[in-house]
Symmetry: C2
Subunit: 300 residues, 2 copies
């Protein structure tokens, strides 16, 4: 049963990933002769693979609420643009200085630092361009709220704040409050926004929106603790990067602070709370539950 | 008369700059203990002075059309956030590698490259955060269109495209089509968007919007040709940067390509067309005319 459900989820991801990549391909074209390399660079990182977790979460939420999944594709794709820009900038020499991502040379290794900075800027901007230029007749208030959600989650009150705090604390003594701030903002904010944007697009009730926010916050945190655990116990193949990379950079991690056992316990507790949140609005047992279970069962 | 009008315009700019800086101060607060330096860095560049030309153009347009200038302040301020982010990223070592701007050390010289990248990202994102979270009840369609305008002007079809083309052509043989692309996109697109966003905010008619777009495109191009001329004939004090800096970097400039006399002629022609555009919708002789004349009469 568990295996059947997972197989099912794999097929689901495959379909959704196909839709998302076709949408990204349409939204980010090849460019022009004056600055073709900018578009090449944007597309290089956009099409570097990955599970497309954020747009898939958004689409699964739209689907769970009976919304129009096809119409939601461009909106969901903006989450991948934001995620991709953040990876391109995070990999820069001045930041994490990573040469490889998902087994491929990072953007600046291929296109140079200047183009990588500009491609990141362009991907970030394009997310809002898509939201601002979609035909949203009669639904402008919904789209405008989505603009606000995406920006809040991505900027100085969200992802960029988390990335800054992470960088400032590299090599420093662990501190639970700081780690919580980093987890909540660096990765959590955009994951939560993915679910919330799906909910807003499908015109969820306030009760549904609140419960789905709890779901998203819990799986977002669990996802990162699992990542931290995998870094400690995982293998190079499974993550596609050097094992112990976080420890080598003396990154603040959940297991470093709370120990492995307590970390696994936290994942179980958070997953339970995510399930309960879905149950409270009658959405148990569907894709969102499956995704939660998949996220935390990656080889922990 | 000319002097009186200029004095008058100085006072106008002073008032508007005051309003804009108070608005920016409210919109970009001091930050929190986890990433205070991010906000410091954003504010350092936001409050580094300057004429605030883009928000002033937006507000002057709102005023010319009888719109609510006070209500337009946050919207106008987003143009300065975008402009500031572009300066912070353009100054980075991987880009123009500038140590000083307006006589002050550039952002990365004070805060380091990583924070400068992040502060730029945060300023860019915050522009859309402001647009997406303003109370726009009943005017969501207008605000959403402004989101689209701002993103189109700033991203891979606007400013970032121009910046990329500029960088790619550094040190290369001049080419009129490439220079036009750079001028239109690198600086022109955001200047044009400033006027258009003011017009959209004030709910201009399509006829007004078209004429104001022509006005903005012409003064945007004239402004850059004047900048190029000043770089050739100006003095260090007037520009606040080393004379001949563009020539030293072998930047493509209008005078290098077309000569000084033809450059001055182009400025006159473009200014005339800007005046005509205003005249066609009965907006001659006001602030927008004054701003056009001021822009092109800076010591050419």
């Amino acid at each position: 049963m568990a295996t059947a459900a997972t197989g099912d989820l794999n097929a689901y991801f495959k379909d959704r990933i196909g839709q998302i990549e076709r949408t990204l391909d349409e939204l980010v074209p090849e460019g022009n002769r004056f600055c073709g390399v900018l578009f090449e660079s944007m597309r290089y990182s956009l099409f570097a693979g990955g599970k497309r977790l954020r747009p898939v979460l958004a689409l699964a939420t739209v689907e769970a609420l009976g919304g129009d999944v096809e119409a939601a594709l461009p909106v969901a794709s903006t989450l991948e643009m934001i995620h991709t820009y953040s990876l391109v900038h995070d990999d820069l020499p001045a930041m994490d200085d990573d040469d490889f991502r998902r087994g491929k040379p990072t953007n600046h290794k291929v296109f140079g630092e200047a183009v990588a900075v500009l491609a990141g800027d362009a991907l970030l901007t394009q997310a809002f361009q898509v939201l601002g230029t979609l035909d949203a007749t009669g639904r402008e208030a919904v789209m405008l709220r989505i603009v606000g959600e995406l920006a809040l989650a991505s900027g100085s009150l969200g992802m960029v704040a988390g990335q800054t705090a992470d960088m400032l604390n590299e090599g420093k003594q662990a501190d639970a409050e700081t780690l919580a701030f980093i987890h909540t903002n660096k990765t959590g904010a955009l994951l939560t926004a993915s679910v919330r944007i799906g909910a807003l697009f499908a015109e969820a009730t306030e009760e549904q929106l609140l419960a789905l926010t709890t779901y998203a916050e819990r799986i977002g945190l669990a996802f990162q603790i699992v990542d931290d655990i995998l870094d400690v116990v995982g293998s190079a193949e499974k993550l596609g990067k050097a094992v112990g990379a976080d420890a080598a950079h003396a990154k603040l991690t959940y297991p470093a602070l709370h120990g492995l056992q307590e970390s696994r316990e936290a994942v179980r507790r958070l997953t339970g709370e995510a399930h309960q949140a879905l149950q409270s609005i009658g959405l148990s047992g569907g894709r969102l539950t499956q995704i939660a279970d998949w996220l935390v069962n990656r080889e922990v």
